[in-house]
């Protein structure tokens, strides 16, 4: 594809779907999946812009760093989710209401 627009539109759709997943799902792991989808959409934008950049490597390096940050985020997030599971016996964010009111 020699045009920027299709990449940006696909990434917009993926971003919106990831957002909808975060809002809809009542499960912490699926919410993490939504965050991953949104990061993927951002990565598509970075790589697509880098294709038409003067220094084409910059956007790709950004995308690689975003991937690594996402990996560390998932590792820490899953550790916290396992602790929550142990303490509250479920991972439904609507039932974790100890700090409510």
């Amino acid at each position: 594809m020699n045009s920027l627009t299709p990449y940006l539109i696909v990434s917009a759709i993926l971003f919106a779907i990831g957002f909808a997943i975060i809002v809809t799902k009542k499960n912490l792991i699926l919410m993490l999946m939504g965050v991953e989808l949104m990061l993927n959409a951002v990565n598509i934008n970075f790589v697509a812009f880098s294709k038409f950049d003067k220094i084409p490597e910059q956007g790709q390096i950004f995308a690689l760093f975003i991937m690594l940050v996402a990996a560390s985020e998932v590792a820490v997030g899953l550790a916290i989710i396992l602790k929550i599971k142990k303490y509250y016996e479920n991972i439904n964010p609507e039932k974790l209401t100890e700090l409510k009111n």
Binding site: I9, L30, I61, L82
Partner: protein
């Protein structure tokens, strides 16, 4: 017939297929009611995104996407599903409920329409199409211009992994 052949040779058809795969996988994650099947949908979506990266001239990013996202993050997520499912619930332990589906779909559709509108309206000062880049340049750039970020990311990854194992360890 000629138009179809030309589109096939331009790679537009393959690009469209990868886009469809990515979007359909994501939609499956949105609508599925089983956590494990949702993670498989995420796998399909990641593969589609890896294909899109190839079309955008990022072969190394595509390979890294497959290795890090599918080989690392997705496996971690499936581990998390395995360890966090509630054994007492029996057969329905992998099921999840979808709440506020209409509300979130409305927001998602309007958000994607808004972003697409902005994309179509804005003008980009894009230079003409250049030949595909080489991975060699990526390596040079990684070790010269952005070597500081590389080191910082390495330290961040170490901290995150040590922190994760510390948080998840069993209490005495």
């Amino acid at each position: 017939m000629e138009i179809v052949l030309r589109e096939l040779q331009n790679g537009n058809v393959a690009f469209g297929i990868f886009c469809l795969v990515a979007v359909i996988g994501a939609l499956y994650v949105l609508f599925s009611k089983n956590v494990l099947y949702a993670s498989y949908g995420l796998l399909v979506s990641f593969l589609g995104v890896a294909g899109i990266f190839v079309f955008a001239g990022g072969e190394f990013v595509s390979a890294a996407q497959i290795m890090i996202y599918i080989g690392g993050i997705l496996i971690l997520l499936i581990f998390g599903i395995m360890l966090s499912s509630n054994k007492k619930m029996g057969k329905g332990r992998l099921n999840i409920e979808n709440k506020d589906m209409v509300f979130s779909l409305t927001i998602a559709v309007s958000l994607s329409l808004l972003l697409s509108f902005l994309v179509l309206e804005s003008k980009y000062n894009i230079s003409s199409f250049k030949p595909q880049q080489h991975i060699k340049n990526l390596g040079y750039n990684l070790m010269t211009d952005s070597v500081l970020i590389l080191e910082i990311i390495g330290v961040l990854l170490l901290m995150a992994l040590i922190g994760a194992t510390y948080i998840a360890k069993k209490d005495e």
